[in-house]
Structure formats: structure tokens, C-alpha cells
């Protein structure tokens, strides 16, 4: 009577023997190493990358190239992220945030105060730049311009991927004046080829005699070499007078034609309209970002998300879907094969004809139709696994059946029957242990198919939107074939992971079934 301990020791010994043989098989070892690396990457994904594969957007410009491409011929025009302003304190939480700006008041008049206000802040964080206008002596119709600007050196010859600025302005008290707010970008360099200083007005707000509040974030994203797309994130409230001067800017090349000194700033022009003129203007959230056209190891996708992060997290998805789907199909195949062979007769006939029929049917159209009707345009990972798993069991069921057919005629099964063992006992004790090595091998050899099928289905559009898989990464860039740095990595990842399972499966086949070559 084998004790539990003895059994454990026996199993351990068997495992050791298996591992020893595996070590001697070069291909098997290669497969195992890749697989172990893939599992380690999948498990430690949050340690390997600080970003979220789906939610962390705008890390860089849209479809940014890998950074290392800058050091190759043709990559000279690529730019990296560039932040002229201190990005830590764009909300003016501390008074020192103002120190980075040049502040000027033209003409220099009395009773215009520019200072830091710790109380009021837009949006939702305290601290802002306060401009108080209490000009009683100036003539009606005169204007005062308060400008807040920052000069910076733009180091790249290429254009940025996205140019974004944001400004928040609050006018709680406005009486007898009109207020105009201009956001501008000035090219400060002068050469013989392009003489003079050129200023682009990006946005202009005009406030009348009422209380007002405005928030604005505006982005210019390079669509291609000659065009840019302009997006406005928030304008609030929609009713106040807004003149978009920057609408005439069609290309980022216009704004940033070369490296050199640039000035970004906000000009607030207050014009006196009545004798009693008084105003308070709060400026906040002043930010300027130049997102690059090169980022990280593998670049970024359309939303400026890190492709390296997506690749890492994709390992998880591929492993989970591949393993679960193949467990499902091997499980179904095992049950169908066992039942079919052991029951025999009409059950066998019906099950095998059904298996043959499914084997003949083209699986992908069937899968697509099933995905479509099962999920009603809401695809999720569970459905994917079930659908993929359900179409992979037929071959294995046939193998198990043929194996069991021969096993059940063996003398030891007859002996077990003679001493009165029931069918479940014989199946569990005598048949199953003899086919279990087949299960391991088939598991390993089914995973690549499942991984590739998942990728193909995701590529065709049947993708779970809450996860990033390698297939989905490819489907997102399917229409942009020139972006080879986004296409090569996921495909290679799929191929390498599949290959590791194939090699592992072949090695296991060699070790576990020395006489029985399943397929070769």
C-alpha cells in the first residue's frame, strides 16, 4: 500500500527524470527558457513599466517612432518631448511658479497690480496669478497690456508631434473695462534667410462687461509633414466671446520651422471704458507641452500610449488566452475521446461523425459568426477563450479515442474488471494515466494555434476593448503600414511565443512518448 509520502516521492522522482531529459534536449531547453521569460514578463509587468497600457495616453505624440531611430540616417528630424515650462506646477500652487515668467506691464501705469494669489484658483486647485486693475486716473479708452511670457530654446530641427498649451482665466469682478486675452508664440530668431521676429496668435478671448470664466486647452498635432490637426479640449462656459486666431495655423512646421529661441506667452489687454473702472483677472493653469515624434523603446500608438508597455501587458493576454483556450479544447477532446472509445456502439458512431463534421467545417468563418452572435458587438476575453477552445478539440478527441480503444483491451483492464472494478474506477486508474502524457504534449502544441487565432480574431476586430493584446496592437495600425516599428514587435512576439510552445511540445513528445510520435 503506497503511502501518500511514497507517492509524492515517486512523482518527484518522475518529475526530476523528466526535467533531466528536457535539459538534454536542445530544442526543449530553448522553448522552456523562452516560456519562463515570457511568464516572468507577464507576472512582473507592473514592475517593468510604470505606465498603464490603455489608460496612460499622450506620453508622446501620436504614432511616435522609437527613440533609437534618431541615431540612424533619416531620423534626424525626430523630436523628443520638450517642456519649456516647469510641468510640476502648472496650476500655480506655489508663488515660485511665477518666477519662471517674464512679467511686464505696458504702459507702466499706477494701480495695476500683478501678484500671486493663494486663495483663488482654477480649476479646483488654489493659487493663481492675480491682476488687479484699479485705474482711476487714466483717460477713458486707454489700454494697459500685462504680458506673461517665457523664452525658451527649442533644440530640435524637426517639428514636434503635438504642441499643446492650456490657459485658465477667471474674471470674478469686471466693471467699466473690457478684457482681452491673447495667447501667442513668437519666433525670436533672426537670420538672413528669415529676417525679423514673427508672432503667431494662438487664441484670443474677449470679455465684455460681465463676470466670466474661461478654460482652454488647445493642441496642434502633426497629421503629416504639411498638416496639423487642431483640437480643443475644454472651453468653458460655451457662451463667452472667443475668437480663435490660431485657426489659420495649418502646419506645425509653420510654428516650429527650426531650432532656436522662441517665446510663449499670454497678453492681457485691459481697456478702460467708463470713469469708474475696476477689474480682477486671475490667470491659472498656464502650461505648454511639446510632445515629440520619438518615444521610448518601441514608440507610441495613435493615442500616444507606450508600445513597450502594451507589448509587456500583451504577454499576459496571450498566455492567458492561449493556455485557457487550449485547456478547454484538450479537456473537451479528452472527454469526447474517452466517452466515445469506452462506450463504443452508437455513442461512438454519433460522437465521431460529429467530430468529423466539425473537422471538415472551416473554423474561422464559424468562429466569426459565433463571436458575432454570442457577443452582440461587445466582445470580451471569456467569449474569445470559449470560441477558440471549442474549435480545437476535434483532432485530439480522435487521438485519445484510438489510444483508449487499444488500452481498454489490455489484460490489466480485464483483470480490473474481473475483480469487480467499476467503469469510473477503470477510467480513472487505468485509462487516464496512460493518456495523460498525450494531454501534456497536446496542451503545449495547441497553445500556439490558440495564440495565433486570438491575434487573428483581434486583428479582424473581435477584440476586448478593456485589454491590450498583440493582435489588437496590430489591428490598430493595420491601416498605417508605413509604421513598421509598430508592426514588427507584436508579430515577432507572437511568433517567438508560439515557437517556444511548439519546441516544448516536440521535446515533451520525444521524452514522454518515445515510441508514439504524434505528428511529425
Amino acid at each position: 500500500m503506497a503511502t501518500r509520502k511514497a507517492k509524492l516521492a515517486f512523482n518527484l522522482k518522475r518529475l526530476k527524470g523528466f526535467l533531466f531529459s528536457l535539459r538534454r534536449s536542445k530544442r526543449g531547453l530553448f522553448g522552456v527558457v523562452i516560456l519562463v521569460v515570457a511568464i516572468a514578463v507577464a507576472l512582473s509587468a507592473p514592475l517593468l513599466t510604470p505606465y498603464n497600457p490603455i489608460e496612460t495616453r499622450n506620453l508622446s505624440g501620436s504614432y511616435a517612432a522609437p527613440t533609437w531611430l534618431r541615431y540612424f540616417p533619416g531620423g534626424e528630424g525626430l523630436t523628443e518631448n520638450f517642456y519649456p515650462l516647469s510641468i510640476n506646477d502648472s496650476r500655480f500652487d506655489t508663488p515660485s511658479a511665477l518666477n519662471q515668467f517674464d512679467i511686464s506691464i505696458v504702459p507702466s501705469v499706477q494701480n495695476v497690480f500683478v501678484q500671486y494669489s493663494p486663495q483663488i484658483g482654477v480649476p479646483a486647485s488654489p493659487g493663481s496669478l492675480e491682476i488687479r486693475y484699479e485705474n482711476s486716473s487714466a483717460p477713458i479708452g486707454s489700454s494697459t497690456t500685462i504680458s506673461l511670457s517665457k523664452s525658451f530654446y527649442y533644440p530640435y530641427s524637426g517639428v514636434p508631434g503635438t504642441f499643446t498649451f492650456s490657459v485658465a482665466i477667471l474674471l470674478p469682478r469686471i466693471d467699466g473695462v473690457s478684457v482681452r486675452c491673447d495667447v501667442f508664440l513668437r519666433q525670436d530668431w533672426v537670420t538672413s534667410a528669415s529676417p525679423g521676429v514673427f508672432t503667431y496668435n494662438l487664441t484670443r478671448w474677449q470679455f465684455g462687461g460681465d463676470q466670466a470664466f474661461g478654460l482652454r486647452r488647445e493642441s496642434y498635432t502633426a497629421v503629416n509633414r504639411t498638416q496639423s490637426r487642431r483640437t480643443l479640449d475644454w472651453i468653458y462656459p460655451p457662451s463667452f466671446a472667443l475668437q480663435s486666431v490660431g485657426a489659420g495655423i495649418t502646419s506645425l512646421r509653420q510654428l516650429f520651422p527650426r531650432s532656436g529661441n522662441y517665446t510663449f506667452g499670454v497678453e492681457i489687454t485691459i481697456t478702460k471704458l467708463a470713469k469708474n473702472a475696476e477689474a480682477a483677472v486671475y490667470l491659472d493653469g498656464l502650461n505648454l507641452k511639446l510632445l515629440g515624434t520619438a518615444w521610448g523603446l518601441f514608440g507610441t500608438d495613435y493615442y500616444g500610449r507606450d508600445v513597450y508597455t502594451q507589448l509587456i501587458y500583451g504577454t499576459r493576454v496571450s498566455l492567458i488566452i492561449g493556455l485557457l483556450a487550449s485547456v478547454l479544447s484538450v479537456g473537451i477532446g479528452l472527454i469526447v475521446g474517452l466517452v466515445s472509445a469506452y462506450m463504443g456502439g452508437i455513442v461512438d458512431e454519433v460522437l465521431m461523425r460529429f467530430t468529423d463534421a466539425l473537422l471538415v467545417l472551416p473554423s474561422l468563418p464559424l468562429m466569426i459568426v459565433l463571436m458575432a452572435v454570442l457577443s452582440q458587438a461587445q466582445y470580451n476575453m471569456g467569449t474569445l477563450i470559449i470560441v477558440i477552445g471549442f474549435f480545437g478539440w476535434m483532432g485530439f478527441a480522435r487521438v485519445v479515442r484510438s489510444q483508449v480503444l487499444s488500452l481498454k483491451e489490455r489484460p490489466y483492464v480485464e483483470a480490473a474488471k474481473a475483480v469487480g472494478a467499476g467503469t469510473p474506477y477503470i477510467l480513472a486508474r487505468h485509462i487516464l494515466p496512460n493518456v495523460i502524457t498525450l494531454v501534456y504534449v497536446t496542451l503545449a502544441l495547441t497553445v500556439p494555434g490558440a495564440i495565433v487565432t486570438e491575434a487573428a480574431l483581434s486583428f479582424l476586430g473581435f477584440k476586448d476593448l478593456s485589454i491590450i493584446s498583440w493582435g489588437r496592437m496590430l489591428s490598430d495600425v493595420a491601416q498605417r503600414a508605413e509604421l513598421w516599428w509598430l508592426i514588427i514587435p507584436p508579430g515577432l512576439a507572437i511568433a517567438i511565443l508560439s515557437l517556444s510552445f511548439i519546441l516544448l511540445g516536440y521535446a515533451m513528445d520525444d521524452i514522454l512518448n518515445p515510441k508514439l510520435r504524434m505528428r511529425r
Binding site: S363, P365, Q376, L460, G471, E482, G491, I494
Partner: protein, 338 residues
């Protein structure tokens, strides 16, 4: 049982298979959540008048119990009465619509199969003949690698490489001329122009290349394995002893005997090939059945069309398998029918 009995048995089995496919097809659309009416009318429910919906339901017999519908459906499918597509995609007759796409797919699949069999067999023969050499190991590794590369990814890489050189991708697919069967069915005879033929060939190049890469490894490994087996047979030794030329030994004596499994496997591979072709077509926007399927699911939600596509693709696979069964019976005189 002779050859005739064997054929009769396969024929009966094939008929059952067709019925099985039709039943599965019916069940999928029947038992899934949502009423069958929703599938047939799709997104168009809002824009249709109740009378129109009622008439569609009558047209498809949706107002009747399931067993009546099943029989009607069987009759329609078996008599090739495919009706109209869903109102969302314009209520056009499905039959001619499919006939505009199916030849493209069959051309693509046929061409790539022939090419990959040629490449696979020739390379496989050379690899088997020079067993253990550099050519042998290189070609085996190359076929294993192309096995594990996803088809659609190979397509994307091809598009990246050949961009601007060969037509590949979304826009060009629309420029392909529609099929014109006037020269078969119509009263007036019209032949395709040279421009049309060139355009068709241009569009075929890249998808065919991808499908050849997808398939050739299978044939190479198979040919290599069977050739290795036959090359050790006694009659090869006899042929050598007779002083026959090596070429004649390889092609006339060895390959002829090794070719049987290749024929079987080419028919069995047909099902896989359909999957590969569907993906490839979508990568290259090649207007075939695979492209139409995805369009019917993702864009027009056209379930009547899907019904027919599924039926027709399954039918092509069934016919391919039946043909290979017949060929097998005819070619190999040693086979025992039964």
C-alpha cells in the same frame, strides 16, 4: 465493395454533412440571444415601417414556428434561393452578390495552393535527397518559422515592404474590376480587357505570396518525410542498379509513390486555407469572401448574407474533401474501399 460502392458511401456521407452544416447554421442564428427577427433586420429596425418589417418576416417565414422555418430554410438553401440581403445593406439579391466575391477567393486559394505545392514538393524533394545537408536543415527551419508566423502579420509586413511598388491595401482593393460572367450566362459576349487582367494579377501578387508562405512549409515537410521513406525502398535500389539516371529515379520512381499523401493533405488543408484566405483578404482589402464576411458582420450586420457565406464556404470545403476522397480511390489501386 468496389469503387462504385465506395463512391456511393462517400456521397451519402457528404449529403449528410451538408445537412449537418445547414442545421448548425440554422441553430446558431436560432438559439442565440435576441430574436431571429433582429438578426434578419439588423440595425434597420428603426427606419422601417411596421408593414415592411411584417413583409420581411413573411418573406423569411419568421412569423412561423421553428420547424416550419427550418424546412423552408433547408429548401431555400438547397435550391440556391438565397433571397435578399438585409435592408441595412440595400436589399440586393444575395446570390449575385456572393458570385461577385467568390471567384476572387477561389482564384486566390487555387493559385496559392498550386504554387505552394510546386514550391513545397520541389524543395522537399531536394531536401530529402540532400538529407542532413545545409539545404535540408535551412529549408526545414524556414518552414517551421513560417508556420509560427501569423498570416495577417506577414501580410502587414509585405504591405510595409512593397508599399508604392505593388498595389496593396485599402484603396486599391476597390479599383479591382467586378467579375463579368456575361461570356458564360449572358446573351452578349464580352471578354475582359487587358487592363482588367493586369489589374487582377497585380492585386493577386501579394495575397498569393502570403498564402504561399502560409502553406508551402506543410507540403515541404510532408514531401520530405514521405520521400525519405520511399528513397529507402528496394525498388529505388533496383532502379539505381539498372543504371537509371538520378533524375528519373527521383521523379519517376520515388516522387510518384510519395505523392499520395500530398494529394490527401492538400484537400484536408483546404479548411485551414479558407481561414488563412479570409484573414489575408482583410489585410489586403482583397474583395473576396473573407472580406465580405467581415463587412457583413462589422459594417452592415447583414445576417442573411452571413448565412449564405457560411453555407457556401462550408460547401466548398466539403466538395474539396469529397473530390480528394474520389481522387484517392481512383489514384491508389491498393486502397481498400470500406
Amino acid at each position: 465493395m468496389g469503387l462504385r460502392g465506395y463512391i456511393a458511401k462517400r456521397l451519402i456521407y457528404t449529403v449528410f454533412l451538408v445537412l449537418f452544416v445547414l442545421t448548425i447554421n440554422f441553430i446558431i442564428f436560432e438559439v442565440m440571444p435576441g430574436s431571429p427577427v433582429d438578426f434578419f433586420i439588423g440595425n434597420a429596425r428603426q427606419v422601417l415601417t411596421p408593414e415592411k418589417i411584417a413583409s420581411i418576416m413573411r418573406r423569411w417565414g419568421l412569423d412561423q414556428p421553428w420547424h416550419v422555418r427550418y424546412l423552408t430554410y433547408l429548401r431555400r438553401m438547397l435550391t440556391w434561393d438565397f433571397g435578399e440581403s438585409s435592408p441595412a445593406s440595400g436589399s440586393v439579391p444575395v446570390g449575385p452578390m456572393i458570385m461577385n466575391y467568390l471567384p476572387n477567393t477561389l482564384l486566390l486559394m487555387g493559385l496559392s495552393t498550386i504554387l505552394s505545392i510546386l514550391i513545397g514538393v520541389i524543395f522537399g524533394v531536394i531536401a530529402a535527397y540532400r538529407r542532413g545537408g545545409l539545404f535540408d536543415s535551412t529549408s526545414v527551419i524556414a518552414s517551421l518559422i513560417t508556420f509560427s508566423l501569423p498570416t495577417f502579420w506577414m501580410g502587414l509586413v509585405f504591405i510595409t515592404i512593397f508599399q508604392g511598388i505593388l498595389p496593396a491595401g485599402r484603396i486599391v482593393g476597390d479599383n479591382m474590376p467586378p467579375w463579368n460572367f456575361n461570356f458564360i450566362f449572358g446573351t452578349q459576349i464580352s471578354y475582359p480587357t487587358t487592363v482588367e487582367i493586369i489589374s487582377r494579377i497585380q492585386h493577386l501578387v501579394l495575397p498569393t505570396a502570403v498564402l504561399v508562405l502560409f502553406q508551402y512549409g506543410n507540403y515541404l515537410l510532408l514531401t520530405r518525410a514521405t520521400m525519405l521513406e520511399t528513397l529507402t525502398e528496394d525498388y529505388i535500389l533496383t532502379a539505381r542498379a539498372k543504371g537509371l539516371k538520378e533524375r528519373s529515379i527521383i521523379f519517376k520512381h520515388a516522387l510518384k509513390n510519395a505523392s499520395l499523401p500530398i494529394i490527401t493533405s492538400s484537400a484536408l488543408a483546404f479548411g485551414f486555407l479558407i481561414s488563412g484566405a479570409m484573414i489575408t483578404e482583410n489585410v489586403f482589402s482583397y474583395p473576396g469572401i473573407g472580406w465580405l464576411t467581415l463587412n457583413a458582420i462589422m459594417v452592415t450586420q447583414d445576417y442573411p448574407v452571413l448565412h449564405v457565406i457560411f453555407y457556401v464556404t462550408a460547401l466548398t470545403v466539403i466538395i474539396a474533401n469529397f473530390t480528394s476522397d474520389l481522387l484517392y480511390g481512383v489514384i491508389d489501386p491498393r486502397i481498400k474501399y470500406g
